[in-house]
Symmetry: C2
Subunit: 473 residues, 2 copies
């Protein structure tokens, strides 16, 4: 008798990477259940679609259902897995109003995450999260004049037509509140400014891009302000006001009239359907996994935004949902299930984002309290240095924050901001951190130098030099 | 009695880095002998001065003699050290037609390198090497119409006036031959094209930028050709022809009329004055040093373009003269001599260069024969991948060559070319190589991803993935 198939729940980055790799390595059957209609799309591109720098919504798709079929994957869209029975090794699937049980040989949970909405009323017109192509499309339609939305923007995909129609009929907004100054908030501030809106960005804590540290945060705030984004830091939004359509945000006893709001306060793992299975959880309720993406349930794997991953600095399971992690873990699990055990790899929390032309990157531990909580004795330095030789035109002051452990000298984290090739420099620090380099070793790295690209001492090396001096004290 | 001073020969990157660091750490005397008049200048900026993107020659200076004096350094320009007596611990100095002996407590040889000229007649008018501010200034004067040279370009420095006058009086050239397709050759091709010349670049071997490997070389050649540079690869120039002024280059039985020639065929260490001291030599006659920059002579150090350095991949002493190495080794030796033993650090052969808007980087071993000679069993892969998410505008195809050892999986070298932030990505590979990562570990690095800066799989990761697959075979 043939073994039961490899069943994958979720048809996005992790799920389809796993199924594709699996099918390249074996002839066994793989079934992918996707509850929605879209598959394999680039979440991270959504703000750029709204901005207009991406021409068509469907440009954000990596694979079509036909591509997936060609790879020999049995993809079932509109199929929601509502329960898992680890004892029977079956999943319960709901589709077209019916339910059926599907046995699995191995199971991959790759259900991703959903936008958190906190206390905010997202049923009001003009209120959006940016998570999924339908929400990006809805915003785009909402920004057009009634009756004038260019549906060519949507391309040929399974778009939620009713939602488009509804938003395209509304009066376009003039002023938007963005609640939350994370990636989505900063990127949407840029996108909505490009679309001509008056944009107010609200951040609960003292600085936008909190995980990037204060130095980057301050620089981004000032850069946003230069581009006419009103930045309100340390101002938690309490409520969105309005009857049918959002009319104002209430914060700190004040009230700002707006006719659009974007909620960008983070994401939550889509793991509720596993309640009752006894699967072990990690931070924020994400599914706890090991170095091979295995959960605590037999033959059940998890990958992507729904799963934990091992942190390169602490060695502990953490939850940092990002695109590369999902793709890599999916691919590794596909290989493992096919018979070639492959570690999913660590995460270092490497992330890059731009605010207009200001590039920012971060990796590892930047917040000293978090580093202390993880058992380190952190020291940090923040420097600014030119991105090119001073005499060569086109450079920009580049800020680098570097954090290391006093006891071992090991580099724990770093952040970079600047307008000239700043973001991609974070990969140097990511590599150093995953290689357990000390600040001393970092300072002596033979990094590239040529006037158009770097001064003799790259900003990363300058930061290492300064922090190293501090560690010697 | 006070100890004899720390004596430094050479007032450029290595020498003044050493003297400056030494003076920050101690009150002892440091004397720097510089045979020329210029100090502390950026060799690497000279092509950009000729091009016109650097406004003034003196913009290329890092430190003025007054800055140096302020650091408490006894700088003597126009002082040439002609001999060293390790037994007496003295150097013999020639200045203003006189000679004197200077005792040293410790000695640093930081005399740099000079442009090689091979068999070419550099006494002809219109023939230049690009090594030193006077040569850059001479080229700039030569490119102007007779009597119309703007001396404001020179700034206020100790320029060789007679050489400027001579070159400024000559008819400007229309067609230049560049002999040698290394850094200087490629940069000067760009610079002279910008100055309106018809440029012919001759490269002895099959590809320009030989140390970057064939994939980068081919791409640069095609990019140069697109910008109307005539590239002649595999065509060694035999001779420069002319009576007073260069009139043609002879190559391969052919003859191309030119009225300017730039010789860029490499550099040679300035170590001849040590003949007879018995100092140990390394590759190309460079002074052999250890991990602290010590030579085989007691209390004698060497740093910068005149010295060897330890290769990060092989652990052997090698000679790769580049700017960061000089600055770093000088600084380390300054600390060591002051009483804080500091390793000079390894070199990985990291280098970046641009050809118009095409950015290139290289590190470690790319040539497989060289890797075999060093005892490795190399395998390599060359890939091209987008620099950004495919849907995001402004990206460029990025070529990555990656070389690893089959036996250990260790990354040995790599090269990158592309127009979008390609060069600085080499720092990721430099860090990986200096950290002894395997291709497997490289493939699993948590590198940055965001649509404007990188696709989900950065080109470096794509190369690792492909090479890893090849190593498994």
């Amino acid at each position: 008798m043939a073994r039961d198939p490899f069943v994958v729940i979720g048809g996005d980055a992790a799920g389809l990477s796993a199924a594709s790799k699996f099918r390249r390595e074996t002839d066994r059957e793989v079934v992918v259940f996707e509850r929605g209609q879209w598959i394999s799309y680039a979440h991270c591109g959504e703000p750029y679609f709204v901005e207009g720098s991406v021409e068509r919504l469907t440009d954000l798709l990596s694979l079509s259902p036909a591509d997936v079929a060609e790879r020999g994957i049995d993809l079932r869209r509109g199929h929601e897995v509502v329960a898992v029975s680890p004892e029977d090794r079956t999943v319960t699937v709901r589709a077209d109003g019916n339910r059926f049980d599907q046995p699995y040989g191995e199971l991959l949970v790759a259900t991703g995450a959903s936008a958190a909405t906190g206390p905010f009323d997202t049923t009001l017109d003009g209120v959006f999260t940016i998570h999924g192509l339908d929400s990006a499309a809805a915003v785009d339609a909402f920004l057009s004049l009634p009756g004038e939305y260019d549906r060519g923007r949507l391309g040929d995909g399974p778009v939620d037509e009713a939602r488009i129609d509804h938003n395209a009929a509304l009066d376009p907004p003039e002023r938007a509140a963005i609640v939350g100054g994370g990636y989505v908030g900063v990127e949407m501030a840029e996108a909505l400014t490009a679309r001509g809106l008056d944009v107010h960005l609200f951040q609960r804590t003292d600085h936008v891009l909190d995980p990037f540290g204060a130095a980057v945060g301050e620089r981004v705030e000032s850069h946003l302000a230069d581009r006419d984004v009103a930045v309100h830091t340390g101002r938690p939004v309490g409520e969105l006001l309005g009857d049918d359509r959002v009319e104002a945000v209430a914060y700190d006893g004040e009230r700002l009239p707006v006719d659009m709001a974007v909620i960008g306060i983070g994401v939550e793992p889509n793991a509720g359907f596993l309640d009752g299975t006894g699967v072990e959880r990690g931070p924020k309720g994400a599914i706890r996994t090991d170095d091979y993406g295995r959960t605590s349930l037999p033959a059940v794997y998890a990958a992507g935004d729904v799963a934990t991953a091992r942190h390169a600095v602490t060695g502990e399971q953490t939850w940092i949902p990002l695109g590369l992690t999902a793709n890599r873990a999916g691919r590794a699990i596909g290989a493992t299930v096919a018979g070639d055990p492959t570690p999913v790899g660590d995460v270092a929390g490497t992330a890059v984002v731009k605010a207009f032309d200001l590039e920012c990157g971060r990796v590892g531990f930047i917040d000293e309290t978090a580093a202390e909580d993880a058992g380190f004795d952190p020291a940090s330095a923040t420097i600014t240095a030119g991105s090119r030789s001073g005499y060569y035109p086109g450079g920009d002051e580049t800020s680098v924050t570097l954090v290391a452990d006093r006891t071992t000298g090991r580099v724990l984290g770093g952040a970079i901001a600047g307008r000239d090739r700043a973001a991609i420099r974070i990969d140097t620090l990511a590599t150093a951190i995953e290689s357990d380099l000390t600040v001393d070793e970092l300072e002596r790295l033979d990094l590239a130098y040529a006037p158009p690209f770097s001064p003799v001492w790259d900003p990363v090396l300058v930061a290492a030099k300064v922090l190293n001096g501090r560690l010697d004290d």
